[in-house]
Structure formats: C-alpha cells, structure tokens
C-alpha cells in the first residue's frame, strides 16, 4: 500500500463524506427502490418461473402459488405486504395503510395475490408470465380500494425473456400500461391507484436485442468515445 499523505487522506475522506450523504439521502427517501444492495448485478438463484397456463410445447412447471395475509387496519404503521410463495416470489403487493380506504368498523383485512387467467387479450405485447389479481378485502369478502391520491406498489418477476417489459393493469374493461421501473434484475414494479389484475408484458421489439444488451452497447459506445478522445489528446500533444 502506498504512503498516503495527509492531504490525500483528507481528500479521500471528504469524497467519502459526500458519498455517505448521497447514500443516506437515497436510502432514506427511496427505500428499497433506491437500488439493489447487490452492486454487481448478480441476483440470487431463482427457481424457474411457474406458469398458470403453460404455452403449447412449453415444459410443465409446478403450479404457481397464491399469497394471502391477514392484517390489522393499522398494521402498527407498517406497510401491508403480501406475496406469492415461489423463491423469489413471482408477485407481491405492497401498500401503505394510509393509502387504503379502510372503513372504520373493519377489524382486519385480507390481502391476496392470486394468479388468474387473463380476462382479455393483452393488446400491447406478449404476456411475460402470469396475470395476478391483487386485492384487499374486509371480512366477508367486501373489496376495499385505494384512497383517492394514494397508490399501491405492484412487484412482478419476469420469466427471463429478453426484451423491454412493462406492467399492464386491467381496469375499466381494458388493459393499460403503467410507468414501470426495474428495482432489481428480473423484477419490475409499478405504482397503481387501483387494485386490479396486473401482468408483465413483453413489448414488441424489432431489434432482437434485449434491453440490457442495448444498454451495454450504449455504455460501450460512450466509453469508447471518451477513450478515443483521450487517445486523440495524446496524439495532438506529440
């Protein structure tokens, strides 16, 4: 290890201090959505995707699971969470209790995540996995909705197919795409102001390249341009 002068150490520590502040801001404001804690992009082992309706010729898989949680309306201020039981889960619903329109007399709630057949064809692409019905109900089965201005967060795991994906929601008799992010490799999430049926959809792509490969090519081009500029500087200074 090289000898470190005091000025270099101060500079290094200052950089770390700035980075620590940025990290604190990201984790405090965005929670798990700030990014993956695995910084090198190697997710954990995942079991093969379980299809509710395997496509013709597709290998038969174990049936997909459902998830169900019974919670108190306050839930001690913690988010409502229900997910399926695959490893890792294929679908999950998260909701802030304050975002749910809970009638005052309801003693407890049931949160369910259930794979269901698609109620209508997906218009904007190809279904990537199962459709999941996400619901919150009162005892007796009465549905409970999202408070105006509130939202729930839906997580769906993809099948591993290449291409750009988006989470669709079926409401008011039609499928519509939701703004979708990818909080972890293979996982997609979207905020929704309704509880409904949700599906991960593989959008049509004429390039044949996955989003990751296209992004990698873009990064390579950026790095190559920077690298060529550095080489050009060297040549000009000769």
């Amino acid at each position: 290890m090289a000898v470190v002068t005091s000025s270099r150490r101060r500079f290094g520590l200052a950089a770390m201090a700035v980075a620590a502040m940025l990290l604190a801001i990201f984790w405090a404001t965005r929670g798990w959505e700030a990014g993956p804690p695995i910084y090198d992009g190697l997710p954990l082992q995942t079991e093969p995707y379980r299809y509710l309706q395997p496509a013709p010729g597709q290998a038969t898989t174990a049936p997909p699971t459902s998830g169900s949680e019974n919670v108190k309306p306050s839930n001690q201020g913690l988010p409502f969470i229900a997910n399926t039981n695959e490893s890792p889960p294929q679908a999950e619903l998260q909701a802030d209790p304050n975002a749910i329109a809970i009638p005052p007399s309801v003693p407890n709630l049931t949160i369910t995540v259930t794979p269901v057949p698609p109620v209508a064809p997906i218009p904007n692409g190809k279904l990537d996995g199962n459709v999941y019905r996400m619901a919150i109900t009162a005892p007796g089965g009465a549905p409970i909705g999202v408070r105006p201005g509130g939202h729930v967060t839906v997580f769906l795991r993809g099948t591993g197919a290449s291409g750009k994906t988006v989470i669709d929601r079926f409401s008011a008799g039609r499928w519509s795409a939701l703004p979708t992010v990818m909080p972890g490799a293979g996982f997609h999430s979207a905020d929704s102001d309704q509880l409904a049926d949700f599906a991960l959809v593989l959008l049509p792509d004429s390039s044949g390249l996955s989003g990751g490969v296209r992004a990698a090519i873009a990064v390579a081009v950026v790095l190559a341009v920077i690298g060529l500029l550095l080489v050009a500087v060297r040549l000009l200074r000769r």
């Binding site: 984790w27 889960p89 909080p183 996955s210 060297r234």
Partner: protein
Amino acid sequence: MSQPGRLARGPSVVARRRAGAGELLVVVGAATVLRLVVAGAAGASSERGAALFAVVLLAVAARAGWRPGRLRPAGLAWGLVGAVGLVVGPVVLHLAVPRQQLHVSGHGFVVWAVVVTAVAVAEEVLLRGVLFGAVEEGAGVTAAVLVTTVVFALVHVPLYGVGALPLDLAVGLWLGGLRVASGGVTAPATAHALADLAGWWLW
C-alpha cells in the same frame, strides 16, 4: 526548434498513461457488452456471464501491468469500514421495513459467493487500480476519482437500468474516496466484495 529530450524519445509516460486510460475504457465497455451477450436471457443473473466479465477485467489488468501485492491489515481494515458504510442503509431498511426473504435455502451460495467476490475484486482492480492510476498520472487524483466513479456507475446501467445510476454514482464515489484515503485497491475491493456478499441476507 529543439524539443526536450523526453519528447524526442517518444511519448511521455503521462501521454502513454492517457492512451492506456482510453484503451481501458474501450475494453471495459466491450467487456460489459460481452457479459450481457453471453448471459443471454438470464441477463444479470447469469453466473457464467459474470464470471467471464471478471476474467476479462483481470486479464486486462494483468496485461496493463497490475500484479497482486501483499494484503496489508490496514487495507483490510479500511475495507471493513468501507463495507459498513455501504451496507448500513440496507441494514436499517431491512430491520425497519418488513420484507420477504427471497432466498429460502443455501443452495448455490458457494458458487454465487465466489462469482460475486471475483466480479467485485476484478472491477476494483481494473477501475480503481489500473484505470485510477492511469487517469491520476495524467490528470490528477480528482479526475481519477471522478472518471472511475462515472465508469463504475455506467457499467451497472445495463444490469439495473438508469434508475440505479444515482446510487451507483454515490457508491463509486465512496469507493474512490476509500481508494485515495487508504492508498491502495485492497480497501475498495474488500468493501465492494463484502457489500455485495451482504446482499444474500439483505435482498
């Protein structure tokens, strides 16, 4: 007009270092593409793609003259501090926000851990070892920290998308500062590997 003897003999050390930095950036980009192409549909979860990525980075580092030195306790100690800084946020979230465990068994842990460690160390050796040295020699330590931070964040975009860019910029800055403060690549490599491994329990 006469030229200084140094230039008359050919490119200076600084100029050659700059060319080396440029070439390194091209290679890092190519290695990133190669990783995703080899991974195919598995994407970031491909251990084969990740392992190949690590091998390419280490080979490039070796070709650029990097050789492993002796591990020093001070570097490891700095690395432990660095790892704590990287995982404290996820640990607090893990304790405060209930979240399902995505891994229910230890199946595959050993292979996963080896590949994760190899990728982390390889990235640090090439980025904050070889590239950092090349940029610092030509443009100073501040430029070295900034360039390696940006490159570190960019190579993760294909894996996690643009959404992870702010976090990886902060992580890159943290590791760059650790590199400068500790005086070597052992500390960021240790911190990086430990933080990645912690993902087994935190994610």
